[in-house]
């Protein structure tokens, strides 16, 4: 490069700065001196510079280099407008309050766009939309009146003057509550909707474009700048996104993913929905979804990527992780903790639906967005969430706070299981995975009920609501109500406190179904629906204990299905329904003591299933249904005809075995496993060998509450459970009132308890129990009204007592037993009509090895009291053991027989019988029974819940038996006597393995 060249460039550049021609001339003369070539070269370039125009996309001044401020001043006149004062300045322009004199006298807002825009294009684009803009007429929209060009060549817009402040600022300044903010947000949606209907997309919805002013003392939001964004932002979508980087950053937080495309021109109304979503997000949390600082510091393409791809945190998550939460909460007149709790759930869903990356998944319109917020405000189901039954129940519960208080007690009772303590309820529940899920939600729902504002009406409107929502056609309506009934009502059907809620719910549903039946027509599909409805009516009558009526309903349903089946015999749907209605009819008949008729109905069902199996050999579900049908019949017979029922149970067993061998992968319902432990053991072995993912294994094990015998597997499980517990402990520490963390930690600790017991690490076990008790002591305070926590605490004390007793620290054990007893007593007397609590007490009085606490007579009495002389197998087992302990051996054997007839697990029955035999001196029989029973028991993986107790009893009993055997061998009567004296009382058996019967399938809980 020559010096010349450098000179030319330098001179040229400096010349660019010269304002006037004279100045330039003077400069060139002095810079070039007498070098005329140089002078002419520079002059030519300068003239090229002036001529170049749009060559190569234009000069530097076409971009944002021109940073001269708007020079217009108050007092200046622009067209017919006289500027009065500057009222705002933003990234895009400067806003003045101005006065218009012609044609009308009024004050308006005048926005002068900053340099960097092509004025002509801006105005042209504005003109293109002017007509549409003129058609907008909405109280929440500030009208854009005019656009033009200033004397300095800049575009300006004239709009209705709004003396307000940005909506976010207003809300914080006035400390509006969340509800008030939502109320204010609704008209904003309406305004946007109005514009959309006129074909106008705002494109730049953000707080500074939504001003709130008070009219008649009420805050009224006004959306400003309609049309402006479109006119000015066109180029933002193309190359100049880069050049105007600085300018758009101000609004990028509100930009939709499709607006953040390099190449997009395809913006529609749903971009505004997204921006509304961001606005709502900010109104709730005080922050935008993506951190402003982060966006500002990100490289441009990174920034676009964030908007296009990153899933923003949910508002509640944002809140709980926000540093400024206290302040945010104060601005919303609420405690910090409650704020995130309030936002969690529906508001999260609503906001996240608006913020979907895929605009097809956002709200279709601003109105549907607003409607969903209204649903939320009215405690109705929101669209934003897939309407799971649990969620709907939550909603329902909030509207019926009065009744839910009682319902909560039941819920809590059921929740015992979920909390992972040890009793039969847990097994009942875990048999129904789905139920467990819905119950967890029930707990959440109850939390929310506390915050609910209005006391609910006494009538339950859920069914009607469901009906209304789905009134478009019968099927959907019926299904909606069905869903509600099955998922919500049936799950709680056997809980006494639920009666009130349930009855009201059913009565409403009944009304619905009966209305439905009146409308039936000739169409096959409609008749099918009608038959289903008839069956439902029967179920409802059944639940309302109007058994006669239910039997009649079922009879009619059977008739209708049979008719349908005969008309189209090949449709398996009709056959299935027919079989099902036979089963239900049978259930009612049995309750009415019309046993033979009942059996006939059941056999018809069983026959249909058998036919279906023949016709569809590859459909495993028919086999499962056949098994279930047999099992149901067996259960219905209960203890009344023991000889008959056995064959049905056997049949069910056979079908299941076949099913398992023909379809090894078919997920047989878990309640079968509890019914047939051998099948279960097989299944578990299989899982252990096929499913190598330890975490998955752990989950399965937790679900079925068993631990493998295998040491390596135990170690693996321990490690996973330990890691999880660490994490959950941290979570609990961070969010002490978040129920899910508590439940998760408790679950982990229950698993660890099982592992430590199985591996006999007593000291660690003791420490773990202490921690569990500590956690429980906190939880009974945090969730004082939840019975499950009290039950859980009682069991922790009980079990720790066992441990200490076993370690021969009897005095320490006593303290824990005493506390456990106190709590069991309290629960039994507080909830006399929840059998489970009474049974806990009864079991304690038998199971406690410390004689100070034993009271067998009372235990038997309690069992009878709880079940009024009928009851599930495990209740009879307690009675048997109590009698055994009290020395009433005949009564013990009788109770054992009852237990067997009620379906008690044979090995456990044998175990108890062995003890009875021992007590009556039949040692050989005792040993034989013991060996048979323990052989089976050992094939089944360790159940968490009876591990400690059972081990303890078993060890002691084995010792005793061993001594007897020795003495038998020695044939010394005396020593055998001595043994007997030493162990005066036979040891109690473990708690039954049997299910606390899953109630849905065998409503008549007769024994």
């Amino acid at each position: 490069m020559s010096d010349d060249n450098r000179d030319i460039q330098a001179i040229f550049c400096e010349a660019l700065d010269k304002g006037s021609p004279e100045e330039l001339e003077q400069f060139l003369a002095s810079a070039c001196g007498d070098d005329s070539d140089l002078l002419s070269a520079v002059e030519e370039l300068l003239s090229s510079h002036r001529e170049a125009g749009r060559f190569l996309g234009g000069g530097a001044t076409a971009e944002a280099t021109d940073i001269r401020p708007v020079t217009e001043q108050p007092g200046d006149t622009i067209g017919p407008y006289k500027l009065l004062q500057q009222i705002g300045e933003g990234g895009m322009g400067t806003v003045f309050m101005a006065e218009q004199t012609e044609p009308v006298e009024r004050r308006i807002a005048l926005k002068i766009i900053k340099p960097g825009m092509d004025t002509q294009q801006v105005i042209a684009r504005f003109e293109a939309e002017r007509q549409a803009l003129a058609m907008m007429d909405h109280p929440n929209i500030a009208k854009v009146l005019d656009a033009g060009t200033t004397a300095t060549g800049r575009p300006y817009f004239v709009m209705e003057l709004v003396k307000g402040i940005p909506v976010t600022k207003y809300c914080d300044q006035e400390h509006l509550t969340v509800k008030e903010r939502l109320d204010l947000f609704l008209p904003i949606c309406q305004a946007i909707q109005h514009a959309h209907q006129k074909g106008i997309i705002h494109r730049d919805v953000k707080p500074t474009n939504i001003l709130v002013a008070r009219y008649d003392g009420k805050p009224v939001p006004k959306v400003i700048d309609f049309g402006v964004a479109k006119a000015t932002s066109h180029r933002l979508t193309e190359k100049t996104m880069f050049t105007q980087y600085g300018q758009i950053v101000g609004t990028i937080e509100y930009m939709s993913p499709e607006q953040a495309e390099f190449n997009q021109l395809d913006i529609d109304t749903r971009s505004d929905i997204y921006s509304l979503g961001v606005l709502l997000y900010e109104l709730l949390t005080g922050e935008t979804p993506f951190d402003k600082q982060r966006l500002r510091s990100a490289a441009f393409d990174e920034l676009l990527r964030i908007i296009r791809e990153e899933e923003p945190p949910r508002p509640s998550t944002k809140l709980s992780s926000s540093q400024s939460l206290p302040n945010t909460a104060v601005n919303r007149k609420i405690e910090p903790k409650k704020l995130s709790l309030l936002v969690r759930g529906e508001l999260d869903w609503i906001v996240m639906k608006a913020l979907e990356k895929d605009r097809n998944r956002r709200y279709e319109t601003a109105t549907s967005f607003a409607n969903d917020i209204r649903h939320y405000l009215k405690d109705e189901a929101v669209e934003a969430c897939p309407p799971s039954a649990a969620y709907k129940f939550r909603k329902f519960a909030r509207r019926h706070k009065a009744t839910i208080v009682t319902a909560a007690i039941i819920t809590s009772a059921l929740l015992i299981g979920i909390l992972g303590t040890t009793w039969q309820a847990y097994r009942a529940i875990s048999a129904e995975g789905e139920l467990a899920v819905s119950l967890t939600s029930v707990k959440e729902q109850r939390d929310r009920a506390i915050d609910a504002e209005a006391l609910a009406a006494s009538r339950l409107q859920m069914a009607q609501f469901e009906t209304r929502r789905a009134e478009k056609n019968f099927r959907r309506a019926r299904e909606a109500v069905d869903r509600l009934l099955t998922k919500v009502a049936n799950d709680m059907a056997d809980q006494p406190h639920m009666d009130e809620v349930r009855r009201a719910l059913f009565e409403d549903a009944l009304e619905f179904y009966q209305g439905f039946l009146e409308q039936k027509g000739d169409d096959l599909a409609i008749r099918y629906e009608a038959a289903l409805a008839q069956q439902r009516v029967g179920e409802i009558h059944f639940y309302l204990s109007e058994i006669e009526k239910s039997a009649e309903d079922y009879r009619l349903a059977v008739q209708s299905f049979a008719q349908l089946h005969s008309e189209s015999p090949s449709d398996p749907r009709y056959r299935e329904s027919l079989a099902r209605s036979h089963e239900m009819y049978s259930g009612s008949l049995f309750l009415l003591n019309r046993l033979e008729e009942g059996e006939t109905q059941s056999l018809k069902a069983i026959q249909i299933w058998a036919d279906l199996i023949t016709d569809h050999p590859l459909e495993p579900q028919y086999r499962e249904k056949a098994a279930r049908s047999n099992l149901q019949l067996w259960k219905q017979y209960g203890s009344k005809y023991s000889s008959k029922r056995v064959q049905y149970r056997e049949a069910a067993h056979e079908i299941l075995k076949e099913l398992r061998s023909d379809f090894p992968k078919y997920p047989v319902s878990q309640d079968f496993y509890t019914q047939f432990p051998n099948l279960f053991a097989d299944r578990l072995r299989e899982l252990n060998s096929t499913d190598t993912n330890p975490r998955r294994q752990l989950e399965i094990l937790i679900k079925v509450q068993n631990l493998p015998h295998d040491r390596d597997q135990l170690r693996m499980i321990e490690q996973i459970a330990f890691e999880r517990a660490e994490q959950h402990q941290q979570d609990v520490a961070d969010h002490p009132s978040a129920y899910e963390h508590f439940a998760a930690l408790d679950e982990d600790w229950v698993v660890l308890t099982g592992v430590l017991t199985a591996t006999e690490r007593w000291q660690e076990l003791e420490e773990l129990y202490q921690r569990r008790i500590e956690l429980r002591n906190t939880s009974v305070k945090t969730w004082a009204e939840m019975v499950s926590h009290h039950v859980g605490l009682a069991f922790c004390h009980f079990e720790l007592g066992h441990l200490l007793f076993r370690l021969d620290r009897r005095d320490e054990a006593k303290a824990h037993y005493r506390e456990a007893l106190r709590r069991f007593e309290m629960l039994a007397s507080d909830y006399p009509d929840v059998p489970m609590h009474t049974m806990h007490l009864a079991a304690f009085l038998v199971d406690c090895p410390d004689p100070e606490f034993q009271d067998f007579g009372r235990s038997v009495q309690l069992c009878h009291q709880a079940f009024q002389l009928s009851g599930p197998a495990w209740a009879w087992e307690i009675i048997a053991r109590a009698n055994l302990m009290a020395g009433n051996l005949d009564a013990a054997l009788a109770a054992l027989e009852q237990a067997r007839q009620a379906g008690g697990w044979e090995p456990v029955c044998q175990f108890i019988e062995s003890q009875v035999s021992f007590a009556s001196g039949e040692y050989d029989k005792a040993i034989q029974l013991y060996e048979t029973s323990i052989e089976v028991i050992d094939t089944v993986p360790n159940r968490f819940w009876f591990l400690l107790e059972f081990r303890y009893y078993r060890e002691r009993y084995e010792k005793t038996l061993a001594k007897v055997e020795q003495s038998n061998t020695a044939e010394t009567e005396d020593s055998a006597q001595a043994v007997e004296i030493e162990e005066t009382k036979p040891l109690p058996a473990p708690k039954s393995h049997e299910e606390f019967e899953t109630k849905k399938d065998d409503k008549p809980m007769t024994c």
């Binding site: 000069g59 280099t65 193309e238 190359k239 880069f242 990100a298 393409d301």
Partner: protein, 186 residues
């Protein structure tokens, strides 16, 4: 595959040979992108240098590791050169095939700044640009970045490590210079 991010790292550390490795990679990627784009998209779909280059950047560079504009500048420098070659190759092909059968070619006519420019003009422009680059290297780079990689002035300034004001002036100078040469038919 050699990783562009690593190369950028080597350039950062002052490895002079690294820059040479960068160009072919960027070139391949851009070429691939351009071809794909035009094959898979609807007729009439425009193709923008900006979009292409930025997309190539996102694809080739691990953005989280390269936040500094310095190395981004190297990338865009290479991208501009790559785009230039693609465009010029394309223009030459087009000229050569003027009477040949209409083979499916990368339709770079729609590449933004380029350019409604007919091939002859593009080739001529390229020659003049070479001249400019030989006399005023920084101006040449600047024009390449703007013209072929579609960078804004601000970005080009940063990529070249120039103060913004001086980039503006160089741009004005380059434009005037090129304009004059083109008008003269040099």
């Amino acid at each position: 595959m050699t990783d562009v991010t690593n190369i950028l790292g080597q350039i950062e550390e002052g490895d002079p040979s690294a820059a040479e490795k960068l160009l072919p990679l960027v070139y391949d990627e851009l070429r691939k992108l351009a071809t794909q784009r035009l094959e898979h998209e609807k007729p009439g779909q425009t193709l923008q240098a900006t979009a292409l280059v930025h997309e190539a950047y996102l694809r080739l560079v691990r953005v989280d590791q390269v936040q500094k504009w310095n190395s981004r500048g190297h990338f865009f420098g290479a991208a501009a050169e790559a785009m230039r070659r693609i465009l010029i190759d394309r223009a030459r092909d087009k000229k050569r095939l003027k009477r040949g059968e209409e083979k499916r070619l990368i339709n770079l006519d729609s590449i933004e700044i380029a350019l409604d420019t007919p091939p002859e003009e593009l080739l001529a422009f390229n020659e003049i640009l070479d001249l400019l680059a030989s006399e005023y290297p920084e101006c040449g780079e600047l024009v390449k970045l703007r013209f072929f990689a579609g960078l804004s002035l601000g970005e080009s300034a940063t990529a070249l490590g120039l103060p913004r004001r001086s980039a503006d002036r160089k741009w004005a100078f380059a434009r005037a210079w090129l304009h004059r040469k083109l008008r003269e038919g040099h």
